[in-house]
């Protein structure tokens, strides 16, 4: 397939369709609404399910129901809407049904605004809902990556029977870029639904989808099972990209849109003769702590750039384990930093790299 000029929100919705997504439940919210609109047009023409729910609370519980029935299902939303979904996300985690969710973050807290932000890193990456669980969280920096990660999310969700959240921001949802969509995968037949799914107890014992373990000892056994699954995810699913890190003395760490901006600033710095590199985590959970640790051992200083008040920087510091100083530069409230601003931060940090 050839590259097309695609808007982020439309691109991930179409990618999900091609990954075999059979049902979409959502609620309009800027800046992700084009995804819902794309689903509204496309799903019925393919004979699949689209439903605009009465709220994000209902949408995620519809997703929960459809996932319990064993189909590939997703929703998408933006920050305030995802906050409303947290109850359902926790239940989904507690009953181990596979679900894909795309969060196109916007400025907050509260109603905030509709501009791009990364202010929900802690909420999404650390769990967000109640109880001990971690969703797989993937952070794209380009429309192509948004397509690829959304596609892959459906496989990961089923492989680990977990929720996978694609965490992007309003700029990625709204921007248009040339990108290539994957080929259309066939939708699973009813007879091919997983053996644990609710399909009617026809010739077998009943299946139960539940997140309740009333005996604390049984709940702990389940918690341990989730922890074991997390270990596997941490061992198998870490993703990151690096740029110019071989001889770098200053290493930038940034994800998603901030990573993209940092990349421009790093190139600018290289042109100015500064030995600067970029580490861009793609999987925010599992976070590539070991790679950050290893990279920190080869540089003199690090600088984390985020579109928030400093959230991922805590994970970076956990990875660095004090080997080198870790600085932070962030813009908040929906303000997107310019490459020149980041460049200025690089210059300052580079100057003090021996300090």
């Amino acid at each position: 397939m050839a590259k097309e000029l695609l808007k982020g929100n439309v691109a991930f919705a179409e990618a999900a369709i091609r990954a075999g997504c059979e049902a979409y439940f959502g609620y309009p919210i800027t800046p992700q609404t084009e995804a819902l609109e794309h689903m509204a047009a496309r799903m019925p023409e393919l004979g699949r399910v689209f439903l605009q729910a009465e709220s994000e609370v209902a949408a995620i519980n519809m997703v929960y129901g459809a996932a319990s029935a064993g189909v590939r299902v997703m929703s998408s939303s933006s920050s305030p809407g995802v906050s409303l979904m947290m109850e359902g996300i926790s239940y989904i985690a507690g009953s181990e049904v596979p679900v894909v969710l795309v969060d196109i973050m916007r400025g907050g807290p509260g109603l905030g605004n509709i501009a791009p932000s990364q202010g929900d890193y802690n909420q999404i990456v650390k769990g967000g809902g109640h109880g001990d669980y971690r969703p797989i969280v993937l952070a794209p920096a380009t429309v192509q990556e948004l397509i690829d990660l959304t596609t892959e999310s459906f496989d990961l969700a089923e492989k680990y029977r977990t929720i996978v959240i694609v965490l992007a921001d309003g700029s990625l949802g709204q921007m248009m870029e040339p990108a290539e969509l994957p080929p259309m995968r066939p939708v699973r037949k009813v007879s091919e639904r997983p053996e644990w799914a609710l399909t009617g107890a026809h010739g077998r014992a009943p299946n139960i989808i539940s997140s309740i373990y009333i005996d604390p000892n049984e709940e702990e056994v389940f918690n341990l099972k989730l922890m074991e699954k997390q270990k596997q995810i941490e061992a198998n699913e870490q993703r990151w990209k690096t740029l110019e890190i071989e001889d770098a003395q200053l290493l930038l760490v940034a994800f998603g849109t901030a990573g993209r901006i940092a990349q421009s600033a790093v190139k600018q710095a290289r042109e100015a003769g500064m030995k600067v590199g970029l580490f861009r985590p793609i999987s925010l959970y599992p976070f590539p702590y070991a790679q950050i640790h290893e990279a920190a051992g080869r540089v003199k200083r690090m600088l984390v750039v985020e579109m928030n008040g400093g959230q991922m920087v805590e994970d970076v510091r956990l990875g660095v384990e004090g080997q080198v100083p870790v600085g932070f530069y962030g813009r908040m409230g929906g303000v997107v930093p310019l490459p020149d601003e980041v460049y200025d931060q690089i210059e300052q940090a580079y100057e003090h790299r021996e300090a």
């Binding site: 519980n61 010739g203 309740i212």
Partner: protein, 269 residues
């Protein structure tokens, strides 16, 4: 949980000797062998049994997917011998919507109490009915929160004492009970909305007929169906089981009149 052991519906012995002994009371196949945790005198057990009998009689057990609520019947999935989901508090209609939309050949029902359906899940039930969601809802109204120990429900009667309205429900402070059949029957998507009671044999029989109709509505794809069942909670009402049934008759029925609030013409015929 599911032992697969079934008692024969009718057992006949010594027929030739003209001494016929019939087993007329057997556990429905749609119930498991698990004993319920419900309090003595609680009508949940009756409601469970009626649903199970209807499902048996319709021969749909292997097609049915139930959605359990949060409340006393949170463990309903342990007692029904069929596929079941356990929803978040109030979200059963949304979860049932998700299931039904991707599995239209299955028959999906929710089992919800008054706190679950009429309070925290008011939006979900209203919109499921408004959409004409092709699901069956069994609504247990006992005018109190049972599982959390007897707090005021959206259906608690004016003046009724609960642990969170210790002086009786003061309508100046807490407002009035929600009458869900009256509300939902206004919606075009609602195909079958009736209120029945479990306080005596006659009404139990009527309740069963209504449950049958509510599943028939779904089987025929006519839209949203709900059967509200006035139920007892002796433990939290602080009344003995027998007087609880009288309390339903004397106090609940005047506030929540029994009857057919909406019947789809295809069912009426």
């Amino acid at each position: 949980m599911n032992t697969g052991k079934r008692k024969p519906e009718v057992e006949t012995t010594m027929a030739e000797a003209n001494l016929v002994e019939s087993l007329i009371y057997a556990k429905p196949q749609s119930l498991t062998e698990v004993g319920t945790h419900y309090c003595p005198g609680c009508t949940h057990g009756i409601a469970h049994r009626l649903i199970a009998e209807v499902i048996d009689e319709m021969g749909i057990r292997e097609q049915v997917i139930g959605v359990a609520p949060v409340g006393c019947s949170v463990f309903a999935y342990n007692y029904f011998n069929m596929d079941f989901a356990e929803a978040a508090h109030g979200r059963a209609p949304a979860m049932a919507t998700g299931i039904k939309r991707v599995s239209p050949d299955n028959l999906v029902f929710t089992y919800q109490g008054d706190g679950d359906l009429a309070s925290i899940g008011a939006a979900e039930i209203l919109h499921a009915a408004g959409r004409g969601e092709n699901i069956t809802v069994v609504f247990i109204n006992n005018a109190i929160y049972g599982m959390t120990g007897g707090q005021m429900a959206p259906t608690t009667l004016p003046g009724q004492r609960t642990s969170s309205s210790p002086l009786g429900r003061d309508v100046e402070v807490h407002g009035f009970p929600l009458k869900m059949c009256e509300i939902l029957s206004q919606l075009e998507g609602a195909a079958y909305i009736v209120r029945r009671s479990l306080h005596d044999v006659t009404n139990i029989r009527k309740s069963k007929k209504a449950l049958r109709q509510a599943f028939e509505v779904q089987r025929q794809g006519l839209g949203f169906a709900m059967v509200e069942l006035l139920s007892s909670c002796p433990t939290n009402w602080g009344i003995n089981p027998e007087d609880s049934l009288t309390w339903i008759e004397e106090h609940m029925i005047p506030a929540f009149p029994l009857g057919d609030y909406k019947i789809h013409p295809a069912i009426e015929a």
